[in-house]
Structure formats: structure tokens, C-alpha cells
Amino acid sequence: MAELASSAAHVRHGSSIGQPLTRRDGQLKVTGGARYAADNHPPGMLHAALAVSSVARGRVTGLDLEAARAHPGVVAVMTPENRPALAQDPNDKSGPFVFRMELLQDDTVRYVGQPVAVVIAETLEAATEGAALLAPRYAAEPVSTGLEDGEAFVPPAVGVGAPAEVRHGDVEAGLAAAARRVEAVYETPAQYHNAMEPHAVVAAWEGDRLSIDTPSQGLVMAVGRVAGLFGIPPENVEIRSPFLGGGFGSKGAISGPQVLGILAAKLVGRPVKLVLKRDQMYGPVGHRAPTRQTLRLGVDGEGALTALHHHVRTASSRYDDFFEPSGSVSHTLYASPAIATTSDAVRLDSGTPIFMRAPGEASGSIALEGAIDEMAAACGMDPLEFRLRNYAEVEPTSGKPFSSKALRECYAQGAERFGWSGRPLAPRQMRDEDGLLVGWGVGTATFPALMMHGQARAVLRRDGSGLVETGAHDMGQGAWTAFAQIAADSLALPIDQLEFRAGHSGLPDAGIAGGSAHTATAGMAIHGAGADVIARLAELAMTDQRSPLFGAGNAGVVAREGRLVRRDDESRGESYAEILARAGLDEIEGRGTGAMDQAAQEHYAMHAHGAVFAEVKVDPELGQIRATRLVGAFAAGRIINPRLVRSQYYGGMIWGVSFALHEAAVVDRRTGRVMNANLGEYHVPVNADVPSLEAILVDEVDPHVNALGIKGVGEIGITGSAGAVANAVWHATGVRVRRFPIAIEELLGQP
């Protein structure tokens, strides 16, 4: 991306990693120069619009094809009758994370919002009107829409292949022996991703070669899926995804509507653009499943946990499997001799749920942090003191030591900054100058430090500049910048001497931008690729009698600012360009791989941690809540770019406010329709909802997660925050609300 800005304001002091660079794509974005998928208009392009189902279960019995085809500008209507053949059945499930899609394979309807036809036209307006004219008729069947509906079953696995049940110690004995017990049922609603950028695809076929612009959190996986569906070699598929307007998990796997855009292009033999309307994002592109979680806690006379049981009822679709793994937080956070997490699920007539930022951890954390708070109150203990009393020195369920865990420092620094020590123990004690109830709550944040598998390529050129490339994904989190920082350091070059390429499927596989693992995975691949180049270059120099580095041998050489120098005498060295020139090489190339260190993982539990402190104000008569202050302190290993990381934490913390106070799909229980499928009524926080936000980056050195010490920051911000806000509402009002988002009417009991 040659047009990416390099900010001259940032003077390099030895290392790019750790510098708070502004995002290199920032200027492009604020000037409209950043090209998102839907900004592409290849010559001859047509527009496609989806007709989607308004019933949740049944069959399409009729479409008014004549009316649609007769509409001026309509070129074709794609239905199960004429949809181009696929090499794979979209109902086949070749792996747990190959999700079934609705690609017009038949007339079955599985959920509201399922595509039932695609209208392709010369203009967006004609396609849209053509889709409306189809006026589908249905044979509808009764639907299941709630966690009470149907028979619950224990799923074979939850989340990413995690066991549905984990048992450590004897929970029933621990509860029986407890001095105090708390049992509480928490409910979280279905939530939808609502990225600013809707799913969009611009697809163009040339023979059996396919060129696509589409947002993707997993380019190589998308290539594989598309190639498989269309029966073409993966090398025939090119996907460009330089920028995503948010993904949050819904752009991890390519979705049905994106494939329908590609099918439409094949049907008409011209490039086609398909962009989802906002309301069409409430169905075929995933969501966070609803949960009902039952927590049973016991403590001894000193406030130490004797047992923790976290049971999760969730839901998947009727036709595919994804089970929100809400119990996982209980494996890690608090020490207890007995911990059990169990899950069951029902099947609903909805689209299949999928990963949504902090999948499992977000929904599980708000419930666990609430129950922990309830127990602290039952013990008459300060909620922070209670958490410290039950601090896990090793991972409770596995018994493994943590690779690093600066959670105590997070608690201490967050509490200090927030002013927690002044907090009255009892609820409903604090008022502001206007008489509003004020409450303070705390929540512990946690997210596993994961790594996927990724690769990168690095090149040093004869002019001394560097090139690093990997098919990484910038969802808005700042990948263009953070990876360039790692790349610059890997080649020991100033960042303005470094060209970084990403966002294209032809580049080395960077793995998936998910699981908060992208920086660690692609970062390690880049780090390795740069090191490989430097090693080759050093080999050239040290074996060349004409080089001042000849024979550095055991002493070795190090790379510094475009030069190799002797480790034992940095005055002796030469520039990259000189070495390449003498060797008669135009460039030198290296490769690197990022992957989890299996040995380290066997020995250590690896998690990022944090502590979030929240202040809310509640109108005592009217029940309206406002989060007025959030302080989060997070320890996530090495921080590549503190400015971008802080932004990630802010975003996560705001989502925590959203989770606790605002966000829910309102599902009509009779029809399964989401009745607020728009950004006007599906409430997420506006600026006025979060007036003060602070994120503290707590130092943490982790020698085990990976050589760079990176744990990942993308998701942890929601965890802890949602619970902290909910706990603050209790502290303000004395009312413990266990159904989210917290509704005004729950707080009206006590004027």
C-alpha cells in the first residue's frame, strides 16, 4: 500500500515497536481515500440485491418472477432453478468450522432473513425493486425462538472444540461444606455484530479465474472455501481485502451472501456487486447466541471459594452447530478447589450463531462477575478484596502456572486511578450533587493468549530498503501500522525505509484475524522472516574476506538501522546495501512462521488479564442509567503500539457498557423476527453514553507466549467491563439485575 502515510512526526528512537504511532491508514480513512470492498466498480459491473425470507421455518412456495424480470433494468433473477452449479453441497459439513450456508440449494427456509433469491440489475435501484417485486409466498411451519423452546441437549463441544463439561474437584461436596452459598441465574440476549461496513462483495469471473473484493478476517480460509464450492484451484481465486469496516467475528468465515454475489457474477457473466442492507445483517452472517447461565458458588468462613459451578444454557440454529462457550471464564479466573462448567443447548429457528467479539468470554464474564459480586456482598466483603482473596496463583482447572499474570498490578493500578478505596461497602450510599444515585463496580477481565498459524515474507533490497508482506487483515484495529512496526524492527530499519503489504490473498497466509491472536501470529511470522533475512545477510558478510564483518564468527553480528555491526565492536560494520552490492545480489529474501509453541503451552496457562472499574449514575425515581466513568487496567504482554492498543481497550470497554446497558436483539417469540434490525432501535452506545474512559497499560513481560511476548488485546476489553458496569448499577441502587441489558423497569421498584 504505497499510499499509506508514514508519519514524519514520529522520530524513531532505536525501535519502532512500542512507539505510539498514529495509524498509517488514518489519513486515507478520514479523506475517503481508503478503498473498501463496496467502493470497487469494475467495468460492466451489475448490482445484485437479495430477496430474503420473512418467515423462520418452512418452504418458499412461490416467487413473482415475471414481475421482477419485467422491471426495467433487471438482467436476471437467480433462484434454485437457475443458480449455477456448485462443486460442493452447501449443506455439507467437512469440519466443525465449515458452516452450512444457504446458497439457493433448495426451497427450504431456515430463518428470517435467509436469502431466497438474488436479483441482478443494471442499477442498485432496479435490483432492489426487483427483489421487492418477488413477494415470496411460503408454507410456514411452527418455530422455536426461545431458550425454553424444545428439548435441551448436551452439545458434543462448545466454542472451538472445547469440552461441554469440565470438572475439577467435587463441586457438590464443596457447596455442601460451604459456610455461604449463592445461586443466581443470569440471562444475556442475542446480539448482532453490526460492523459499520456491511458484508459486501464485488466479484468478477474470467473463465475459471475469480477476482473478488470483499472484507475478510481470514483470507486464505476464504480462498479455500470459495475454491472448494466452485471446484476451481485455490490459486485461481484472488481476494483483495485491504480494509474492513469492522468484523467482530462475522467476517471470519466467508458468509452465504458473499458467495451469492460470486454466484450471481457467474450466472450473468459480468462483474457483480452485492452489499447487504443493514437489516439483512440480522440473519445470514451470524450473531452472539442468547444464554441463560446458572451460577452456584460456595465460600468458607474466610470468604475463600469452596466451589464454583457455572452452567450455560445456550442455543444454536436448527441446522448447524455453534455453541457459545460462556463457561470458559470460570476455568481461569478464580481459585477454587472445585470448579465445574456444564453446558446444554436448544435449537432455534435462527441463523447459526457465530464468534462475536470475545465469544463466550463476554457473555460468561458478565454472569460470573455478577455472581462473584453477589458472593462478596453476602460475605460483607469489598468486591475487590473478595477477588484478591480468591486470586488464582495457578490456573485453577488445569493446575498449570501462568506464563505471566500481572492481574494484581491491574487491580492495584486501576483501583488507585479510579479512587476505589473510598467506596462504601453497602449499596445505595452515594449521591452526586444533583441527587443521582452513584455506584462503583469492579470486574475482572480475561482472555486467552492464543496463536493461529501464519507466515510472512521479508526482503531486503539493494537500495537498503525493506519489504515485508503477509496476508494480514486490518479490521480497523491498526494492523497496517502495528505489523509495519514489527516488520521495521525485524529488519532493523527505520519504518520509512520499510514497505509493508497486506490485505491480499496472494500474500503469505497470515492466519485468521480472530481470537485476539493476529498480532502475535502474523507478528511472529514477520519477526521470523526478518530474522531469516538478517541471518542470510550476516552469513554473506561474515564469509566474505572483503567485509569488515569477516570472521565475526562466535562474537556474531547485530543489525542496527540498516547496517550489520559486530556485536563486540559496533564501530565495525557495513550497510545492508554494501553487503548486497558486493555479493552482486538485487535482494535477499527470508521467510517466517508464527505458531503456538506447543511445549510452552503444555507447561503454562496463557491469558491476558485486566481489571475494570466502573462508575454509573442512576436516577432514583426514573431508573435511567448512565455509565459516567470507566477505568480499565490491562496486562497483555508486550504492547506493540500503545496508542492503537488503548483504542482497542476503549472499544472493548464501550462494548462492555453496551452489553450491560443497551444492546439486545428484540426477537418476536411467535415469528423469530428481529424487530429492531436497524441502528436506530438496536441500541449501541452513542458518545453521550460514555463520558470518561481511561485505559492503563500495565507492564507485563511474558517470556513464554512467544518470542515477542505478545498476548493480544482485541477482545479482553469487553470482559470485565460489562460486569463492572452491572455491579456498579447494583451498588448504586441495591437492585441486582440479572437479565441484560438492564432495563429501566427493573429499577423502578424502590423510588
Binding site: 420473512s54 432501535e681 423497569e745
Partner: protein, 352 residues
Amino acid sequence: MNRFDYVRPATVAEAVAAAAQPGSAYLAAGTNLLDLMKGGVMRPARLVDLARVPGLDAIEALPDGGVRIGARVRNSDLAYDPGFARRFPAVAEALLSGASAQLRNAATVGGNLLQRTRCAYFYDPASACNKREAGAGCDAREGENRLHAVLGWSEQCIATHPSDFCVPLVALGAVVEIEGQAGRREVPLEEFHRLPGTTPERESVLAPGELIVAVRLPGEAAGFAGHARYVKLRERTSYAFAVVSATAGLRLEDGAIAEARLALGGVAAKPWRVPEAEAVLRGARPGAEAFRRAAEAALAEARPSGDNAFKIELARRILVRALTLAAAGTPERLPALPASPHAPHPGVSLHG
């Protein structure tokens, strides 16, 4: 086929003539109408665009001290008009609590009166809605209805009118000026919107083709300027419709309430003025006890239409709040969070 005529008349007379064709709709800013058309909820055969019609965008002071507001005056222009905001502060506060800055910069006075309900079943063409299609049924009645009406609803329709602006307007005795084929007429805002009854598809007294040209506030309405507030409860701090809202205007004489003006929003298919409650306060000393009696009177006829019984008590409380704030006096400056319970209220003891 969704084809429609688009005409851009140059005068009010031309506009009214153009809209005489059945199926016509007037277009002002289109902040509501265009969304409804895109969603297939409304399919007018003809749009009569008022953008070029002169004489609809003035804010005129009237000899009696009142004001005449052209139908195409933008929400923001009205709210930030210093003369208007000084004399009718609750109206300005209500305007600024609505929608978002971008919408307020576009949305008009006439359009505000005529905006459609936010009932999700009305917006969903796959749902039954008597308002959208007479006789189709009401899916809201047994549906997701926690924000629906608690006053004036019928078995045929439980939708609410979503306007903030109309709430203080109706309390202050606003009059709607209407132009039609038969000439000009005036209707008090209180009688402008219709309750659903058995014909929820008919939302106002406008005859087909009639055009709102202005809204007038009488001079006496400025007599409440010293004690006038609007309070709006919502599910986020900004950019959300009211769960319930209330306005209170008081005229105090010798420490007693000489006259009160009260209305509720978000509770019925129209902005809900409560003369019974106003009567309770006449001659009373301002205070919690009188305010609560007024609130009881205001909601005496309320009954839940679904999972929304809480709105009745909430409406009482918000009316008490509006009265408490009004009694304390209109603030010098509009708060940064207009109409929000979270706006600071210096010098007012709200909560004991």
C-alpha cells in the same frame, strides 16, 4: 412497480393542487418518509416536494407575543432561534432532545407533526398492522410491546406518536394552520392527531391533500417561559425515542400555581395533554404532594396494552419530575444534555 410522480410546485396553491391526486404525499426533509418508502411501508403514487415553496420557512413574531412557525422550518433552526428559545424554552429543549444533530438539521416542523409511529410492526411489511393496512390486524397487540401505548389505545392499535416537539406544543395550546383545496383552516394541535379507535390508519384530521403551512403558539404560551421544562426518559443518553416524556409549564402567582400546562409523550397515539392534572394544580402550592396528585390524575385512565405496565408509574414519576424542575425555574442556559434526567440541575433538590 414502485414508480411515483415527483413534482416540485412553486406555490402553496400549486402544492395543494398537485397533492389533490389520490395517493400523493408531501415531501419535506424526508427523514421519515424516505425510510418508509425504502422499506416498502409507504408507496405514495406522487411526491409533492415542498423544497421550492416560498413562505414556509419563517419564524415570525406575532403582535400578541406569540409566534408563527413555518412548516418547513428546520428543527435546529427553531431550537437555536434565540427569541423563540427564550419565550418557549420547553419547546426548544424538546426539539434538541430528539433524534441526532444531523436529523435535526434536516427535519421540519410539519414533518415532525406528521411523523409516523416507531412501532416495529408498522415498519415490518411482513407483520399485520391496521395502521399500514386497514383491517389487517395488529401483531403488536400480542408481540414485543413493552414500549407501546398506555393511554388512548384500542384493540386495533397500540402504537405511540414518537414526537418530542409536539409534547410541549400541545401543552402550550399550539394551533395548526392547514391549507387545502377548500381554503385555509386552523385546528388546535390537541385535536389534530386522532386516537386509533377502529380506524388507526387515520392518524390526523388532515383531509387527503391538505398541507400544514404553519404552527402557531399564542402569546399567552410565553407566560410559562420562566417555569417550563421537558424531560425525556430513554434507553440511551441520546439518539433514542422516548420511553416516556413529559412537559410542565407553570405560571406562579404569589407562590401558588395560577396555571399549569402538562403533557406526556410516548404514551399514546398523540401528544397527550392532561387537563385533569392541570386542574388539580390550579391554585395549589408547588410541591411533591401536589405534583403527585396531578400525576395520579394524569394517568387515571391509563392501562397497559402489553408488557408495559411499568410505563404508567414511570409516566407519573416523569410528570412529577417535569413539574419539580419547572417549579425551580427554567435554567438560564439549556443543559448540554437537553431533557435528560442526567443533565445537571444546579440548585434543584430532586431526590430529597
